[in-house]
Amino acid sequence: MAELCAHHLSKYYAGVSVVKDVEFRIRPGEVVGYLGPNGSGKTTTTRMLAGLLEPSSGSVSYDGRNIHDDLMRYRASLGYIPEEPSLYPFLSGREHLQLIGRLRQMPETLLDTKIDAFLGLFGLRLAADQPIASYSKGMRQKIVISAALLHDPAVVLFDEPETGLDVTTTLVLRHMVQLLAQRGKAILYSSHILEVVERVCHRVIVLHKGNVVADDSIERLRALMSHTTLEGVFAELVMREDPEQMARDLVNVSALSTQ
């Protein structure tokens, strides 16, 4: 079965290093959590894994081949849920899914069946023919998730997929990720919600200022770092400030008198 591998991935913007020498692999049936504070390089890595961004150095391989050697073939087996889903505002949700499915050359009957099913399961049937411009963030996210899963991809990259989703859908998403893994999909799950990562991921990679600072199973990390929760591990790895003190400082700034 095919593995997705990041080989010494680095990315620089105007000479500033955003991702440094990141190396990991995701096996089929594995859910890898990708954690890190804001600006740590999670989205940049995910976009490089999706082939939307070329690395400054290093490479991404799938099934033993550099993805840029045959990007089309790789993308045929890729599902990607970005952090900020920009969609064509003048298309309806159904039209967007039809567009993506047709570009992916899915058979029309299968496409229609899947679209109806996704829209129904996500509770979007009534809004299916409304323009996306009128959708809430959560509704858009549901369309993006549907589009990513429409073609039954072998690799799925989730970049903070819970954004805007309600509690029920977040729970559904959590179970869905586990079920996808059981069906042999290789999954990268980038998130800020440590509780979700702790529950669904087999392994976590922690990124800090573009560097991988941990890559192991949650149990081993907890044992190694003598913490009972992933939150404790994460705090020790990447937090340089005391959260309580920082919160106090913020409230104090907010209360500064304008007199």
Binding site: A50, L52, L71, M72, R75, A76, L78, Y80, P82, S86, L87, Y88, P89, F90, L91, S92, E95, H96, Q98, L99, I100, G101, R102, L103, R104, Q105, M106, P107, E108, L111, L126, A127, A128, D129, Q130, P131, A133, S134, A147, T258, Q259
Partner: protein, 585 residues
């Protein structure tokens, strides 16, 4: 001690709304608005400077008499007043949705402790400033150059009347611009009052498109319309046109500056001409006060309607209380026909439906197409004015050229809109789902153009052509038109290498340089095609032309298939920072 805030919320919002008029998401979400402002400003200044010099050349060293100049000036004044009025109205129509507070502004501004009245006042100010800027950009050079060149022709004209003429020209052309601008705002706001928000949301794109078509056509038809104003009298359609009302004000205020100039020594021929022309001018003079009255009434009505309707719409307490977009009806029969007969393959279907959605529902694409329609209508009107359109008239080149001119203009507009991304930020979806089937996708887009642009034009033109040249002739003309449009579309897309409506827009400067040649080739080609059709309809042998069209079609398709294409489509061709500096070429 804290520093005081210098800008009031009103001033800050006005500045922000003005910046929004220049927003441009086509090249990149981060594109430089000051660059756009510079380009638009330079274009307005250079075009009006060129027009002023070109129009006023006849006053340089021509030894015109005051009577002659007074009569000739009526044409020029009509032209400048019309140009100013139409350009301002066109600008307002192009900014249609930006003239009021849009949902995005409302969502950002409503939670802030700024009253709705301040927000609306700021928007109104920004709209007024934009209108004033347009008026000044269009009228600055004509207001200086026209009177100045007149003065070179008439040494008896002193500095006082010269300055008076400059002031009158500036004020009245700007007044005409204000009238055009206010009229569009009045139409928009009155429709919103009468139809309510839901009804207005439905008709708004259509009204905007219709206004752009009307104004664009009027602008293109302006040069042939602004001739022999005095000679033709004030009884034709022009007498009831708004620019003529403003011409009445102009002549009432400043008409005597030239007409009543002291006469210097003239030869007998000049003297006779002066007497004739002065008589003609005096004969027309009686109309000017009436026209001036109409201008005052129309301006007042537009102003009152615009302000009242704007205030009425602004009284709504919540800016964000906009109607929910209603679901689009799915026309199953239409989809079945299209899927069965027009696009049977998935990628072509994706191109077909995406093109249909983008060209009608995306604002920049719709506006560009409306401009293309305006060009087509203007050319058709010009051709029609010289054609015999009586019942049973024989088919003529002047008549049959109308159809290729209209669909040709639309297809050229279509060629332009496929280069504009429908939403650049959303092209990641295309990138991920793209399977390098660019020909199939483009095939779907091409068929969308034929179905949505060419077929409606042909269908609309069949009844009037059937009236003039008979049903059989009209049907043959339509069939040949479809074949001609297919060849033209093939020619327009032969060198297209990108994915329509998705890739970064990069202006092609070579196209601008070659524009006159393209325009000439287009008109000549349409003329030749019309001439061939005349022969075919007269002889009853249309098959020959269809065969003849198949040859260039085949050659173009062959060339299109054989030429070396890019291996991979680059959706984001260059980073925005590089584009802004023009380093991509």
């Amino acid at each position: 001690m804290t520093r005081p805030t210098f800008r009031t919320p009103y001033a800050q919002l006005t500045r922000q709304f003005l910046r929004q008029f220049l927003e441009n998401d086509l090249i990149s979400p981060d594109s430089d608005s000051s660059q756009l402002l510079a380009v638009v400003g330079a274009l307005a200044v250079s075009v009006t400077l060129f027009i002023s010099m070109f129009m006023s050349a006849k006053f340089i060293g021509a030894l015109l008499t005051p009577g002659q100049a007074a009569v000739l000036l009526l044409d020029d004044k009509f032209f400048y007043l019309s140009l100013s009025m139409i350009a301002a109205a066109l600008m307002a129509a192009a900014q249609w949705d930006a003239l009021t507070i849009d949902p995005r502004d409302a969502a950002i501004l409503e939670p802030l402790p700024v009253s709705a009245a301040v927000i609306r006042r700021a928007k109104l100010t920004a709209v007024a400033v934009l209108g004033a800027a347009v008026a000044v950009a269009i009228n600055l050079f004509p207001s200086l150059i026209l009177p100045w060149l007149l003065a070179t022709n008439f040494p008896q004209m002193s500095i006082g009347p010269l300055l008076g003429l400059m002031t009158a020209h500036a004020v009245l052309t700007c007044g005409a611009a204000a009238f055009g601008y206010l009229t569009v705002i009045a139409i928009r706001e009155t429709l919103a009052v009468v139809l309510g928000r839901r009804g207005f949301a439905f008709v708004s794109p259509w009204v905007q498109g219709a206004l752009i078509v009307a104004m664009g056509s009027a602008l293109l038809l302006l040069p042939p319309s602004a001739t022999r104003i005095a000679q033709r009298g004030f009884d034709d359609w022009r007498a009831s046109s708004p620019p003529m009302w403003f011409l009445g004000v102009y002549e009432t205020i400043a008409g005597e500056v030239i007409a009543d100039l002291p006469r210097l020594e003239m030869n007998p021929r000049q003297a006779a001409t002066d007497i004739d022309m002065s008589a003609l001018y005096r004969q027309r003079r009686s109309n000017f006060p009436r026209l001036a009255g109409q201008a005052t009434a129309a301006f007042g009505a537009a102003l009152v309607m615009a302000v009242l309707a704007y205030l009425w719409n602004a009284r709504r307490p919540a800016l964000t209380a906009l109607p929910q977009a209603s679901a689009r009806r799915r026309w199953r029969a239409g989809h079945w026909i299209a899927n069965t007969l027009i696009v049977r393959e998935g990628t072509a279907r994706a191109g077909f439906y995406f093109a249909l959605a983008a060209m009608w529902r995306s604002k920049p694409h719709r506006v560009t197409l409306a401009c293309a329609v305006a060009a087509g209508v203007a050319m058709a009107v010009l051709a029609l004015s010289r054609a015999d359109v009586g019942r049973g008239a024989p088919p003529s080149t002047r008549l049959l050229i109308i159809q290729p001119l209209v669909y040709g203009a639309l297809l050229v507009g279509f060629r332009q809109i496929i280069r504009l991304p429908a939403e650049l930020r959303a092209n990641w979806g295309f990138k991920l789902a793209w399977r390098e089937r660019d020909r199939a996708f483009l095939g779907g887009v091409r068929r969308a153009a034929l179905v949505a642009l060419v077929l409606p034009v042909l269908a609309v033109l069949v009844p009037p052509f059937a009236f003039v040249i008979g049903i059989r002739g009209a049907l043959v003309h339509a069939a040949l038109g479809l074949a001609g449009a297919t060849v033209l579309l093939e020619a327009l897309l032969v060198s297209y290498d990108k994915v329509p409506f998705t890739c970064t827009y990069l202006p092609n400067e070579n196209t601008k340089a070659l524009l006159p040649i393209y325009a000439l080739a287009f008109v000549v080609g349409a003329g030749v095609f019309a001439r061939l059709q005349v022969g075919a309809i007269a002889s009853g042998n249309a098959i020959g032309i269809l065969v003849a069209l198949a040859v260039p079609f085949g050659l173009l398709r062959f060339w299109s298939l054989r030429r070396v294409r890019l291996r991979l489509v680059d959706f984001d061709e260059t980073p925005s920072s590089v584009q802004q500096l023009g380093l991509h070429r």
